[in-house]
């Protein structure tokens, strides 16, 4: 039997040889990074690193369907035999989860020395930079500014029934915000809030950009999204605006989420990983992200930024630790998946 099929098998395999052998290439300086920051902002920075350091960057970007969660799951799956050298996360909760699972390795970039203590791990497992906030976005042509709810908890009011939109709460910074509420309010109150959102007809869309687009279209009047998505909409002339929720006395504050960067344990290219991390946590990168359409807030004072990017110290941040958020991610995620059939 083998003799019957072997001639055809050999011919067909020969046709595949160019594809197979093409995988063998010359060794060159390279680094592999998984990043969940929007490609629009991360790709130019990685290209700049390539140019400055003569080091090829092999990037894997997230997809809207699963955002950070998809990349984190891949990193967990590859623990012990990682493809990635660096993980550049657009949020912080999943980074801490990776640290808890032993996926990260410490590093000490010189450019991170002046990052405030609350935005970096004391042992050097991760560093935060270029933050954004979870805000309430509204259609400014359909909702007068004085009527915009000032707290995320007000989105369950009957007035907004069927008019509030939210990104998939299982993924991305929406998941982070839900976990933060779980940690801040406690599981019982958080569940009651999530149920109230559901009963009030909250519209679930794939992600933060979709939230912005739904509100800009007027299909929904309000939504929860990130500041960079709102700024991108404003730059493109969309009729959207935002408020930083829960800023009043006695209120819980707005969730502020930094980008985080970390080195992967067992990275195939550890030295290049250190170089890339040193580059990413530099002042220049925070300035670039502040001046980009994303308008991300530098975590360090004294970093150059445009005047319309608020000082981080001027925003009342939600009084919940990143560690508590990381611990709440699984429980809140499981509840929300069941509630919204995810």
């Amino acid at each position: 039997m083998l003799g019957q099929v072997a001639p055809g098998l050999m011919a067909a395999l020969a046709a595949m040889l160019p594809a197979v052998l093409g995988g063998c290439g010359a060794r060159e300086r390279q680094v592999t990074v998984f990043t969940s920051l929007d490609r629009l902002y991360s790709e130019p920075l990685l290209a700049e690193f390539e140019k400055q350091h003569g080091c090829k960057v092999n990037a894997v970007y997230d997809i809207e369907a699963s955002k950070t969660t998809g990349l984190v799951n891949r990193l967990l799956d590859e623990k012990g035999h990682p493809e990635a050298d660096v993980f550049w996360n657009s949020e912080v909760g999943r980074t801490l989860q990776l640290q808890q699972h032993g996926v990260l390795a410490p590093c000490q970039p010189a450019t991170a020395a002046d990052i405030p203590a609350q935005f970096k791990d004391p042992q050097g497992y991760w560093y935060g930079f270029a933050a954004r906030a979870r805000v309430i976005i509204y259609n400014k042509e359909l909702v007068p500014a004085r009527e915009v709810p000032q707290s995320v908890l007000d989105l369950t009011k009957p007035k907004w029934r069927g008019k509030v939109t939210l990104g998939n709460p299982a993924f991305g910074t929406t998941a982070t915000q839900m976990a933060a509420l779980w940690a801040r309010l406690g599981p019982q109150k958080a569940k009651a809030y999530f149920r109230a959102l559901d009963e009030n007809g909250v519209v679930i869309v794939p992600g933060n950009a979709a939230v912005r687009d739904e509100v800009a279209r007027g299909s929904c009047l309000l939504g929860l999204t990130d500041t960079d998505d709102v700024w991108a909409g404003v730059r493109r002339g969309k009729p959207v605006a935002m408020i930083y929720p829960d800023q009043g006395p006695g209120q819980m504050g707005t969730l502020v989420i930094p980008n985080t960067v970390c080195k992967i344990a067992g990275a195939p290219h550890p030295e290049q990983a250190d170089e890339l991390i040193e580059f990413l946590v530099s002042h220049d990168v925070e300035t670039t992200l502040a001046y980009s359409d994303a308008h991300q807030m530098p975590v360090r004072p004294g970093v150059a930024k445009p005047p319309d990017v608020p000082e981080l110290s001027g925003v009342k941040a939600m009084d919940v630790s990143f560690e508590a958020i990381a611990q709440a991610l699984e429980a809140s995620g499981a509840y929300l998946r069941e509630l919204f059939n995810r």
């Binding site: 099929v5 055809g8 098998l9 594809a19 995988g23 990037a59 809207e64 493809e83 950009a209």
Partner: protein
């Protein structure tokens, strides 16, 4: 009548490679649905198959059926008008029928998203003309997805309708004309004779509609394909994603089986013209041509104009080209390699399908049909399970695993190439091969000097299809892409969700133009075969 080449051992070797490449990953991915942490378990099904399965199934089937309906509504009249009448400008309209097939369905969906925006051109026109406030049309929902897919895939029905109409035995219509008017002949003879082919084409559009991911993703419609991708990429356990694909695969296999059974009744089969004559429309020749032009303008001009309008001026294209050299190079490389591989595999397997006498004919038919009936993301998952082993591609450095991409592209689109070649081979008389053998040709000479030259047009058509599909492939790519291995389609999709409309539109135009160049070359080679 025996067909000696069909019994050649070489053919089984090619079939074995195709099974390894395209069928084994599908089976591996489906098997993954019952494996959790290395143990047999139904947890994946418990996660994936929640309470709203009925709604998900109804939505998925509805999108596919709607696409097929639009395909029939547009494809049958246009196919008949262009292929069987002397409507003015029919050659140009025939060429334009292929344009929607080159435009990726998700690009078409992007344009409809903009056109049907509450502040978009269509709603503004309706508000101004009909005084409807607010604009009545919405870019959301399964209906829009169905229409968008239908507008992308209707040429399949038109092409098959035209091909079937030109292979009718002329004496049947001639006899009918003795008693009936031309319209009566069409109604009572032509349409019933081509009905199996048209129905098979509609079922095929349905199949493509339910397994499409891009359009549903762009239009935020939750169907099985989006569910599979979200569950696989968003969960540590891939069994949930695989489990979510099982209901869809079952529906798709039923549709594929129905297509096969209906197509078998199409006795006239094939793509080649007979001298069946054209209906003389007389004074209606020009109006018929205008009607064709109007329909094509409505379904093509609007989306294309929106795309070009979104892309803006030269600055957008410069920015787009500056952002995509590596993804563009990757796309061209993967698509070209996939085309070469698919062409090598398609001919021998198509020969087994088209020729009687071979023992592997049923197996070849089953193998060729299976990859079409599953979501591309599932095939990507299966590819990782089989090919990403440490002793295969998994043992290479991450950036060196890029050959997985063209292999996966070939697996996804080779069935279409097989179908194109088989359709051509079915028209070639077996007696030509027997004559060559009687003249003393060996089997390899028979293949090289008789079969391949005669099947040349089918090979070119198949190659064009594989290249087009490879350039726009997205769903499996996001699963298996190695670091640095993104394609233009993947980049386009990622930027789409960030709201970079100008850049997305410019990239889409670049994607279409780049795809057209090799396809145009293949078209020239096709014409040189006359």
């Amino acid at each position: 009548m025996k067909c000696y080449l069909a019994r050649s051992r070489w053919l089984y070797g090619f079939l074995a490679v195709f099974v390894l490449l395209a069928v084994a990953p599908v089976l591996a991915a489906l098997a993954q649905s019952v494996v959790v942490d290395g143990h047999l378990s139904l947890d994946g099904y418990r996660t994936a198959l929640g309470q709203r399965q009925g709604l998900l199934l109804a939505r998925t089937v509805g999108v596919g059926a709607g696409a097929a309906g639009v395909g029939l509504l547009l494809g049958v009249p246009l196919g008949l008008l262009i292929s069987r009448t002397n409507a003015a400008g029919r050659r140009l309209w025939w060429l334009l029928c292929f344009v929607p097939l080159i435009l990726p369905p998700y690009v078409m969906a992007v344009t409809w998203l903009e056109l049907l925006d509450p502040q978009g051109a269509v709603n503004r026109m309706l508000v101004e003309v009909l005084h409807l406030v607010p604009g009545p049309l919405s870019p959301k929902g399964p209906a829009v997805a169905a229409v968008s897919l239908g507008l992308s895939l209707w040429p399949v029905v038109a092409i098959v309708t035209g091909a079937a109409a030109r292979t009718i035995a002329p004496e049947l219509e001639d006899a009918a004309r003795l008693e009936a008017s031309p319209w009566g002949v069409i109604r009572r003879v032509t349409l019933p004779l081509i009905a199996p082919a048209v129905l098979a084409a509609a079922l095929f559009v349905f199949l493509l509609g339910i397994t499409d991911l891009g359009t549903a993703d762009v239009l935020y419609v939750r169907v099985y394909t989006t569910e599979v991708l979200a569950l696989y990429t968003g969960s540590l356990d891939p069994s949930a994603g695989a489990a979510a694909a099982v209901p869809l695969t079952a529906v798709a296999l039923l549709a594929a089986l129905a297509t096969y059974m209906v197509a078998r009744r199409w006795e006239v089969g094939g793509l080649w013209q007979r001298d069946v004559g054209r209906y003389d429309l007389g004074r209606w020749r020009l109006p018929a041509g205008v009607l064709c032009a109007g329909v094509l303008a409505a379904v093509l001009a609007g989306p294309l104009a929106m795309l070009l309008s979104l892309a803006g001026g030269a600055g957008s294209y410069r920015t787009a080209l500056a952002s995509c050299p590596r993804p563009l190079a990757n796309s061209l490389l993967y698509a070209a390699l996939a085309t070469a591989l698919a062409a090598v595999l398609a001919l021998p397997i198509a020969y087994m399908l088209a020729r009687p006498g071979g023992r592997g004919r049923r197996l070849a038919a089953l193998a060729a049909g299976l990859p079409v009936a599953v979501p591309a993301a599932l095939l990507g998952l299966g590819f990782l399970i089989i090919w990403n082993r440490p002793w295969l591609f998994g043992g290479l450095e991450a950036a060196q695993r890029w050959p997985l991409m063209p292999l996966c592209f070939a697996a996804l689109s080779a069935p279409f190439a097989i179908g194109a070649v088989a359709a051509v081979l079915a028209q070639i008389e077996v007696s030509l091969e027997e004559d060559a053998l009687l003249a003393g040709a060996s089997l390899s000479q028979l293949g090289r000097y008789v079969v391949i030259p005669l099947a040349r047009r089918g090979i070119l058509a198949g190659a064009a299809i594989v290249f087009i599909l490879g350039m726009r492939e997205w769903a499996a790519s996001v699963i298996i892409r190695p670091p640095g291995g993104d394609t233009l389609a993947v980049q386009l999709f990622e930027l789409l969700h960030y709201g970079a409309e100008e850049l997305v539109a410019a990239l889409a135009v670049i994607l279409v133009v780049i795809t057209l160049v090799p396809v145009g070359l293949m078209g020239l080679l096709w014409r040189r075969g006359d």
